[in-house]
Amino acid sequence: MSEVLTSISNAIIQGKKDDIGELTQKALDEGQSAQDILYKGLMPGMDHVSDKFKAGDMFVPEVMRSARSMANSMKILKPLLIETGVAMIGKVLLGTVKGDLHDIGKNLVGMMCEGAGFEVKDLGISVEPEAFVEAVKEFEPDIVGMSALLTTTMRSMGDTIKALEEAGVRDRVKVMIGGAPVNQSFADKIGADAYAPDAAAASDVAKKLVKKS
């Protein structure tokens, strides 16, 4: 493995978000392809981070810093990847559902997904079902992720899925849900494709969902 790719992996693990841009450029200058930088530099670093996090050896602020480093590198790589026709791992559309202003969990999911190599679009808080539908048409995500903290707002998840069906775009996406009051059986009940109990699980679930489709 090339030295520069190893140092990119290490920079991801150490969360060197301010140095990663320079390193990415250096790798490109040395003739590494954007694809190799992504799959042989960034991704192995993030996989390592993910393993350490699951083992309890790394903590959320550290993982977020690694994910931010990944995102900073991807800013440079993305146009090149598109240019060369290399498929990104996938696109994730996120939002806290209508009536709910809680977003820390959803933000975590966004960062973890970015860290896993997804392109993430975050619609923010209290997102109307129609806004999800519009964004699906426009952004063409592989996955729609919905979050809610309140038992009173978790019903909006079902409404949003219905809205996607009515607009005829439900089949184009996989729907993933999360948040303190929901669980797998609720996901089944409203016809979501997947449920994740936390942000780390969410990025794993997202990876599985795009593999299947």
Partner: protein, 500 residues
Amino acid sequence: MQVRKTNYQVNATPRLQVLTEDAIEAIYYASLRVLYETGVRVYEKEGVEVAHAGGAIVEETTEDSSLVKIPHYMVDKARSTVPSKVVVTGPDRQYRMELFKNQIYFGGGSDTPYTIDPYTGERRRATYQDVKNCARVAQALPNYDFHMSLGITQDTAVGTYDRWQYLAMLEGTSKPINITAVDLEGVRDQLEMAYIRVGGKEEWKKGPIFSLYIEPVSPLSHSKEVVQKLLFACDHDIPFVYTPCPLAGATAPTTLAGLLVQALAESLFGIVISQLRKPGSQLIIGGLMSNMDMLSTIYCYGSPEMALLSAAYTDITKWLRVPEYETAGCSDAKLFDEQAAMEAAINISTAGLVGGNMIHDVGYLDSGLTSSIELMVASDEIIGMIKRILQGIPVNGETMALDVMKEVGPGGHFLEHDHTYNRFKTEIWQPKLIDRQNWENWQMAGSKSYGQRVHERVIEILEAETEPLLDDAMFKELRRVCELADERHKGEELDVKMFG
């Protein structure tokens, strides 16, 4: 620079105080009256002579004891030479207890007849291997600062088990140890072992590697063995714990204030005799005081009175400026169960908050009759929690984080901010065994209760490969002291299977 802030006070740590200075003084002067008017019974002639030569009144002398009355000026004089600080270290000096006002150190308790077998959960007589196991666990636990046997080695000879017990502890830990001794000869042998371990008498003087546990008998009695050990400890620069164990309603007044007066009088006698024998002799006064349960008659190790009395006694010793022996991490439960966790959490918190110095009995169950490695491991985490609380909340510009709040703004989040990244590990305590997973992950990890996780950690520690602390030559030399003791006592009743 113009200073605007005035009269600004901070608590660097949270505070707990049971007794006011006035109450402490009332107790102290009451103790002086007890020593002078009621007196203490001393069962050792040499001790009586030392006291008498120092000015004590000696009365009611019988064949085996005398009533000794101590005038208050003798106490004043003794207080002027008793050290306000005692240091005990580990043999390689890595671990160190600096015992003085407001310094906390946690450790085990001494000779329990029983232990809970870590594998079978069975309560049985403790053995050499158990004592070694407890010491190995003590070595592995970060919040465990000193060690006591947590079991009597009952597969060794009855009259010499203390040497074997010390050897088992030395095999398992290099932390400071508080030893017990069968008799004076037992102290002598263990001191010889300590010289071997630390590298000679001069090294010992640079830092003793054990303290000696001495327990006078409540109410107000000082037995032959106790006084002999005390005098020997003074003569040989051995720091010693002088701890009566008064029992409210049984061996002390049922009122806690009365118990404190009595306990203090008992300890003050130790201070007086030791300072007469050798000014500067090092005491740690204690520390185990509780109530009798008036239904079962047991000595309560988990009662709120135990925690409260220990805390009050800490207040008294802080005022006296004498290091203190304190009690926590113990319970009356028969197993490591909910009661054990609850009682240990309460008494560890109280002892930590008040600032007892040498806080012992971590791992005691069954009113001090049974040791539990599981309770040791669980207590380590409780101590971690209380240590976090004791770090308090520093309030300053950086910690109030106004700039950070402004930067993040309403509706933002702090997870990604440098302020979080740079401080979360020091600001927020991370548990090791306490579970904080969400339901799904907890389920995936086997749906384990705290007790199950503690048990697994115990087995993990016991089965971890560790470097031996004693090399072959040293082990043989130490063992030789034990064997010679057995040899000397060969003629005696030494049935090692006395418990069947």
